[in-house]
């Protein structure tokens, strides 16, 4: 009875807070029919926003991937001075409001900011341009991959890597053949979260973007502009594209997991008594 109640509560919660809004987005987007929908998403300004969003994610995610793996590796496998300071710093973007994150970049790179004069003299635009949006996105999505990997790498310890080295593998071989396969699920999950946030970030990007249509508008910003102009169909059409991108990444993850043979094997076999066989 208690179990049933729990399941029903969870499902009800999911339906009301997740499924319903998602359906509402698609319903609104298609309210005036497919023609209007197509028109809304094929508008040049909408396409520019989609392109910019994909570009920003394509730069921010790989950079944070490299950083996240490096930071998690350093924290999980070595002891050094300032380790706890590094862990705290990684969490900083979670702790501060995205608006403040945007303000920081205005303060540093804006016209009246610290490097404002230098940048203007060299005709480099950071704020109210694509570089600023990329920087703000990197800042906000900074912790996702590292946070995902640190506990995974910590539970796995150093035994596997030390074994590989003792068998004559180079550091590079050890990373590609042993470490990376061991962390791939955590890594994939981190990348997906990082990507979702990179595409969806509103606050920080809004501050540094300047809202120049067709130039510095990402999808979330474009949705807001359309909405403020009472252009609901177009707003929800673009919003539905964003939602679709998110659903696609989740589907991709499920397919990848399903295709991993050893994961299915591992699930069938009783676990080792002394240590979890799979993390």
């Amino acid at each position: 009875m208690g179990r049933l109640l729990l399941i029903v509560t969870a499902l009800l919660f999911l339906a009301v807070f997740l499924l319903l809004p998602l359906l509402a987005v698609f319903a609104q987007a298609l309210a005036k029919g497919f023609g209007a929908y197509y028109l809304a998403i094929s508008a040049p300004m909408a396409w520019a926003a989609v392109r910019l969003t994909l570009l920003v994610a394509a730069i921010a995610v790989p950079l944070n991937l490299v950083f996240g793996v490096a930071a998690a590796w350093a924290i999980a496998k070595f002891n050094f001075r300032g380790k706890s300071a590094l862990i705290t710093l990684i969490d900083l973007p979670f702790a501060v409001s995205p608006v403040i994150a945007g303000m920081i970049f205005i303060l540093v790179f804006g016209t009246h900011g610290w490097f404002g004069g230098y940048l203007r003299a060299h005709h480099i635009r950071v704020v109210f341009a694509v570089p600023g949006i990329v920087l703000a996105t990197i800042f906000v999505t900074f912790p996702f991959i590292a946070r995902e990997l640190i506990p995974v790498m910590q539970t796995q310890g150093k035994d596997d890597e030390e074994t590989a080295l003792s068998l004559g593998a180079t550091g590079w071989q050890t990373f590609w053949r042993v470490t990376l396969p061991n962390i791939r699920w955590g890594l994939l999950y981190g990348v997906l979260l990082c990507n979702a946030r990179a595409m969806g970030e509103f606050g920080a990007v809004s501050v540094v973007s300047g809202h120049i249509r067709g130039v510095t508008n990402t999808m979330p910003l474009h949705v807001e502009i359309l909405y403020n102009e009472y252009n609901y169909t177009a707003a929800f059409a673009v919003a539905s594209l964003l939602a679709l991108l998110a659903l696609l990444t989740l589907a991709g993850k499920s397919i990848l997991e399903w295709r991993q043979p050893e994961l299915r094997h591992a699930a069938r076999v009783p676990r080792d008594r002394t240590r979890r066989a799979n993390t």
């Binding site: 310890g157 035994d159 596997d160 030390e162 074994t163 590989a164 080295l165 003792s166 068998l167 004559g168 593998a169 180079t170 071989q173 053949r177 042993v178 396969p181 061991n182 050893e262 094997h265 591992a266 076999v269 676990r271 080792d272 008594r273 002394t274 240590r275 066989a277 799979n278």
Partner: protein, 353 residues
């Protein structure tokens, strides 16, 4: 390959993990590093294998200074307590790993790799399992895969860090005997780290007892057990009864008993203790020997342990004695019975140790 340690010292922060260790391991020896946790045995093994660098001192491989050799160049096979199998690889791929990562010039051909892995799997009795994943094997099978993998690179030295610690006692016992046979067949130098004195005595030619980063004693297993040089070694290698002893006019007294005739005194200190193992206490009839009463009787397979309350001894807990099952069947000691004790051998050490 012979291994020698010269003045090896390693600190972790303020804490000295090992201090000024000198040790020689002969070619083909099977040596056990025995000690409680924190005694530095694993650190020592990791220094020999190249996973740690000593702060001071040298590691010599066949007389050559190998202290700073990278781990990959040392030709050591490592076996860890938790197996450290690559879980995304099959058993075959695990064993082949050390061959596949070799530089192209040194790498055997694919058929050669296959043959070698098959031979190794036959050696560890896992020929049936090349396509299994580690998660599909039992603990003992996984550790045999780890051994085969370590041996694939033809190591000169095999380093085993509590290799059987995670297994249940039945499997542990089998694997120990199997490892000993394997070692005798293949003649590499092996060093095994363990905190289990029985394991060390059962498997090794030489036992090194470590305590707080220092070597307490090095010897063959029987010697270590029978002639411990310190109270620490004496206690660590088996059960003991421990009593304060008084040295006076060249004689030794435990309470009112003069134990001089049976005592091995290795001390000049003022405060001392006398140690006696349970099987060194003989139990006889109440009319001969030191008077005592039987408090408890436990039959443990081939031996029987008795708790005894001896009269007038400076000890609050009962003495523990051990006799053979046959002797017990003949005498049929019961709880509450009055008996007479004879103490076959005492060892006297300074009390501080």
């Amino acid at each position: 390959m012979s291994i020698a340690l010269r003045g090896v010292t390693k600190q972790f922060g303020e804490y000295a993990a090992v201090e000024n260790i000198n040790l020689d391991v002969a070619t083909g020896a099977l040596m056990a590093l025995l000690g409680p946790s924190g005694s530095g045995k694993t650190t020592l093994l990791r220094i020999i294998g190249g996973l740690e660098t000593p702060d001071r001192g040298q590691v010599l491989f066949d007389g050559q200074d190998a202290t700073l050799w990278p781990i990959g160049d040392r030709k050591v096979g490592f076996v860890f307590q938790q197996y450290a199998l690559f879980r995304h690889m099959t058993v075959f791929e695990n064993v082949a790993f050390g061959l596949k990562v070799k530089r192209r010039r040194e790498r055997p051909s694919t058929p050669d790799i296959r043959n070698k892995v098959q031979d190794l799997l036959a050696l560890v009795q896992l020929s049936w399992a090349p396509d299994r994943y580690p998660a599909q094997l039992s603990g003992g099978q996984r550790q045999r895969v780890a051994l085969a993998r370590a041996m694939a690179i033809d190591p000169q030295v095999l380093l085993l860090d509590e290799p059987f610690g995670a297994l249940d006692s039945q499997v542990r016992h089998e694997l120990r005997r199997w490892l000993r046979r394997l070692h005798d067949e293949l003649h590499f130098t092996s060093i095994i780290v363990t905190h289990d004195q029985q394991e060390a005595i059962e498997v090794a030619d030489t036992v090194v007892v470590l305590n707080q980063g220092r070597i307490e004693q090095v010897g063959i297993p029987g010697e270590i057990y029978d002639l411990p040089e310190s109270a620490f070694v004496h206690r660590f290698l088996g059960q003991v009864n421990e009593l304060p002893v008084l040295l006076r006019d060249g004689r030794a007294y435990v309470g009112p008993i003069d134990i001089s005739a049976a005592a091995d005194v290795q001390t000049g200190s003022a405060k001392n203790i006398a140690l006696i193992r349970p099987h060194e206490i003989e139990i006889g009839h109440a009319d001969s020997g030191w008077p005592a009463a039987v408090v408890a009787v436990r039959v443990i397979g081939p031996v029987v342990r008795l708790d005894l309350c001896a009269e007038g001894l400076p000890i609050h807990e009962p003495l523990e004695a051990e006799i053979s099952r046959e002797r017990f069947e003949a005498e049929r000691f019961t709880v509450g019975q009055r008996v007479g004790l004879r103490f076959r051998r005492w060892q006297v050490y300074p009390a501080a140790a």
